[in-house]
């Protein structure tokens, strides 16, 4: 299994989208949420995405971005000045 740790964040209008359900049903992803915060205005989730291939995860990330969510690798940029 391929695993990727990401932070997904979104504003209120995107929160109506059932993203976890879509990740499981449409992309065969196993989402494992470890921490999250949801308010009326914004939400974020720290999670691990598990799938059979790198491509599956990439497609799922593209889907999340297409609905307006922000996806970034956990731990920040590796490249520093």
């Amino acid at each position: 299994m391929i695993k990727r740790r990401v932070m997904i964040s979104m504003l209120a209008d995107v929160m109506k989208e059932p993203i976890l359900y879509r990740l499981v049903r449409d992309f065969d992803i196993v989402p494992n949420v470890r921490k999250a915060d949801v308010t009326l205005n914004e939400a974020w989730m720290k999670m691990e995405l598990q799938a059979g291939s790198e491509d599956q995860i990439n497609e799922a990330v593209e889907y999340l971005k297409s609905v307006g969510a922000t996806v970034k690798p956990l731990g920040g940029d590796v490249v520093e000045g």
Binding site: R5, S9, R34, K35, D37, E42, W44, K46, E48, T70, K72, P73, L74, G75, G76, D77, V78, V79, E80, G81
Partner: protein, 422 residues
Amino acid sequence: MLSNVTGLICRECGNTVDMIAQNQCDVCFGPMDVNYNYARIKKLVTKKRIRKGPANIWRYKEFLPAQTEKYVDLAPGFTPLQRAERLGEELGIKNLLIKNDTINPTFSCKDRMVCVAMTCAIEQNFEIVACASTGNLAQSLAAYAAKSGLKSYIFVPAGSNEIRLSSTNIYDPILLGVKGDPSQLNKLCSEIMLNSNWGFINVNLRPYYAEGAKTLAYEVAEQLDWKTPDHLVIPMGSGTTMTKIHKGFQEMVDAELLRHARVTFNGVQSTGCSPIVKAFNAKSELIQPEAPSTIAKSLAVGNPADGYYALKIIRGSDGLAVSVTDKDIRAGIKLLARLEGIFAEPAGGAVVAALGKMAALRHFKATDTVVAYITGAGLKTPDIIKDIVPKPRIIEPTVDSLDAAVAAINRAKHVPGAPDKE
């Protein structure tokens, strides 16, 4: 020696692990920090003992995670905290002090962090250390690896500035240019870490690396005769420096070396990469990543690891987060050099420009002591200023030619009191 360190602890959920190379909590994915036995430190540390220590970061060894005293030591730190009267007068800040970190062994504050991380890497039996960096971190890692004898790999985006890379390559690391965009470089480094036993200095060794930045707080406190300044102005890339300076001041209070840690934290980014400032202005907790486009490469971190925590510290201390343009940064570099004799890299120019912005907003009271961190030297980035610094005038080898040139310069500059020669 008996260690003051108890292991690593998750900043979010408090999960603890041994002293291993791990930057993320296995439970909640929060960042791991070094955990100390503060009761023991409090008994050990005194102002007198610190004063007797070496004139470098290891005078605060009780607060650092090294388990032995076999430091990989180029003696970084204990840099001057100097009064900046001329710059202060220009900007309208009465009590302005500059923490001049341009004079570290590889001319940036990264030496403090790499020195600690490299010492811990050896203690944890790493034989290879690595980082992905185009500038200060790369130079520092290469130098400390050279000193320690460890093999070092440095990854840079293919096509990076060759002049800057030469000041890394001189230390003889294995320097590799990686094709593709920065996200692909990030991914490559993550894959290497999964499949090797390399110590990535700012990734799996990050808990130790970050601790070195605390010395920026200890030194300022000691140099102010154990008093807390009113304001700090700190450049922000990953946000780690700010979070660790904050931790450093708090630890000084816990060890009863300072009475209080009530200091206002102000952060500075470049407009071309300002995810923390944008979240601050939007009153949001979410840091939206962005693709950097700025001359301030040392601040160009689009997805800052400690951005959320830096934001929290700024808000919690009633501080400001401001961004400045590349034009402001160049002007800041010139102003600092002209008025204080300090030649800074763009991050320093950004701090000076931000000081001006904050002063214009009347953010500082007349009685406030303001400490500005200048974290890297300008000689690292000569390409940034070459177009804004005048070339020398060429004169004939005669006194008449000299007089004519001086008169022309004085006319151009309107130098007050200068002799009016033609």
